[in-house]
């Protein structure tokens, strides 16, 4: 990793001409990878070489070729077309789930940290309890609890990601709020007679933006893995919709016959997460935050 140390003064210097030059290396590489993924996903939503559920696009298991760069699966579906179509699904689910989790977690965490007292105490105990359930187990249990009617629906996946993330985000937001609540401008706002909501969302939220932005980026990095894991275990999006984790699990027994059907989607998923991670790493350096690894 290149250790480009930038001296970025202001928080939102996006409009500066030389902004791109001053960003840390990882941020640039990450941003380029992410832009490529987004463009690929947009293209894949509208056009793929073959239909994503089209059987008999070629000889099953015939391996990688120019027409079928990721080979064909057991029933002759073109893996690359499926991969391309799945790109926007992975991105949209990750984004929607993380945004929803951010909104819920931030609201809860900031209120809890600012108000304090018994409200904070109760919220923290519930947050603690939710974090104590391993996130994959929590996600799977919620999917089962939703019942057969909702199983495999994108809405359910979005809610599950949000619910797994919300308590973890709330903990970060709370810590930031508690620190910011001691600052003078908050005391001034209180003296002005501003209400709790106004202080939390106008004073504290804006000043916690850096911490929350890094947290958002960090959670976004992990969302494709979480969604992929659910798909891999057979509890994610309903087939034949080609979510990448599901594809890896479907093609896993073709590992001997045609490994490219597994490693194609695998490479896509890994490169997406690498892009997110580099981006987060650079972002946290630019904003003067330390990104905390860990689920």
């Amino acid at each position: 990793m290149t250790m480009t140390t930038s001296s970025l003064p202001s928080r939102f210097a996006w409009l500066d001409k030389g902004f791109w030059q001053t960003t840390p290396g990882p941020f640039r590489v990450g941003a380029i990878i992410l832009i490529a993924h987004v463009l690929f996903a947009i293209a894949g939503a509208f056009w793929t070489p073959y239909g994503f559920a089209e059987m008999g696009a070629g000889l099953p298991l015939s391996g990688a070729s120019l027409q079928h760069p990721m080979g064909l699966d057991q029933i002759g579906r073109d893996v690359f077309s499926r991969f391309m179509y799945g790109a926007h699904i992975v991105l949209l689910l990750s984004f929607a789930g993380t945004v929803l989790g951010m909104v819920a977690g931030t609201t809860l965490g900031l209120l809890s940290g600012y108000i304090g007292g018994w409200f904070d105490e109760i919220t923290q105990r519930i947050v603690e309890a939710m974090i104590s359930i391993p996130f994959l187990a929590l996600a799977l249990v919620m999917i089962i609890a939703a019942g057969p009617a909702l199983a495999g629906e994108p809405v359910l996946i979005v809610f599950v990601v949000a619910l797994v993330y919300a308590p973890r985000i709330a903990r970060i937001a709370r810590a930031a709020a508690m620190e910011i609540a001691t600052r003078e401008y908050v005391a001034v706002a209180e003296l002005r007679g501003e209400g709790t909501w106004s202080i939390v969302f106008r004073e504290i939220l804006l000043n916690a933006a850096n911490v929350l932005l890094v947290e958002f980026s960090l959670r976004l990095s992990y969302a494709p893995i979480l969604i992929g894991a659910l798909g891999f275990l057979g509890f994610g999006i309903r087939p034949p919709t080609p979510e990448w984790g599901l594809m890896i699990s479907e093609n896993r027994n073709l590992l001997i016959a045609s490994p490219v059907t597994v490693f194609g989607p695998g490479l896509g998923l890994a490169s997406l997460v690498i892009g997110f991670n580099l981006f987060t790493d650079g972002l946290s350096r630019m904003l003067g935050q330390r990104s905390v690894a860990g689920a």
Binding site: M3, A129, S132, A137, M142, A145, P148, S249, V273, A295
Partner: protein, 317 residues
Amino acid sequence: MSVARLLFSRILFSALTLLLVSILIFLILEALPGDVATRILGRDATAKALEVLRSQLHLNQPALVRYFQWIGDFLRGDLGVSIATGRPIADVLAPRILNTLLLSLLAFAIYLVLALVPAIIQAVNRGKAVDNVISVITLLLLSLPDFLLATMLLFLFAVAVPILPALATISETSTWQETLRAMVLPAVTLAIMMAVYAIRVLRDSLIEVLRSDYVRLAELKGLRPRAVLFRHALPNAIVPALNVTALNLGFLIGGVVIVERVFSYPGFGTLLIDALQLRDIPLIKATVMISAAVYVAANLVADVLAVLLQPRLRTSR
């Protein structure tokens, strides 16, 4: 605050957390709107089958009564009966927990080596090429989903170069060599997944310690570099990594679900997946409770260890 009081309050908080976990799990699985029996059997189930299941799960009683009955039995060591197999859950769980414990111990041993060695190499050669190369590798591995890493290792060492079994199916009749060989791939996968987090934390904290005054002093006293590193720097650098290790134990519990699934290892994780697929609610409740208990206990141990290792923390908080 004395160590004993601190210990006591931490244990109390852990117990409270677990109580809340039990309420959450119960609420999610049994108190959501809608009929539990229909959710288990599906909408095509006959009225008679639904009725049988309802009486089996005591669904005719109010939720509050059911909760206290469940948690009361649970605390007395009666985990209930699995719906799918009709066997007592304790009997179903015991061998699976033992298998996962074995796997985790092996993974943990490998993890210690995989975390310490690269971090020490990086810290000693900080800023040099080796440091950067290891940083890039850990970042790449950090981005690799666990199910993908497991599949890749399986492909490499069981398909491309078939030196290890692809399926880690073990039974009572397996010899210990067979068992060990079967456990290598899943254990290595888990160890790598845990180590990548720890390496980054340990490297940074080790570098910080190596810059500190007392390490300078030890060097100036003329101690051999090796002695400085292992006797003075490492013990102090390990404390931040302890928290990561506790986090990692939490990951390990989730990770075994995926890794055991990929290698078909008959452990706790595959049991949870089976229970979920069969919608065996009593078994799901028991497995999730136990995994949460392990997580809470691991964090408790890490907290206490951190306090014992670094007396400074005893006064703060």
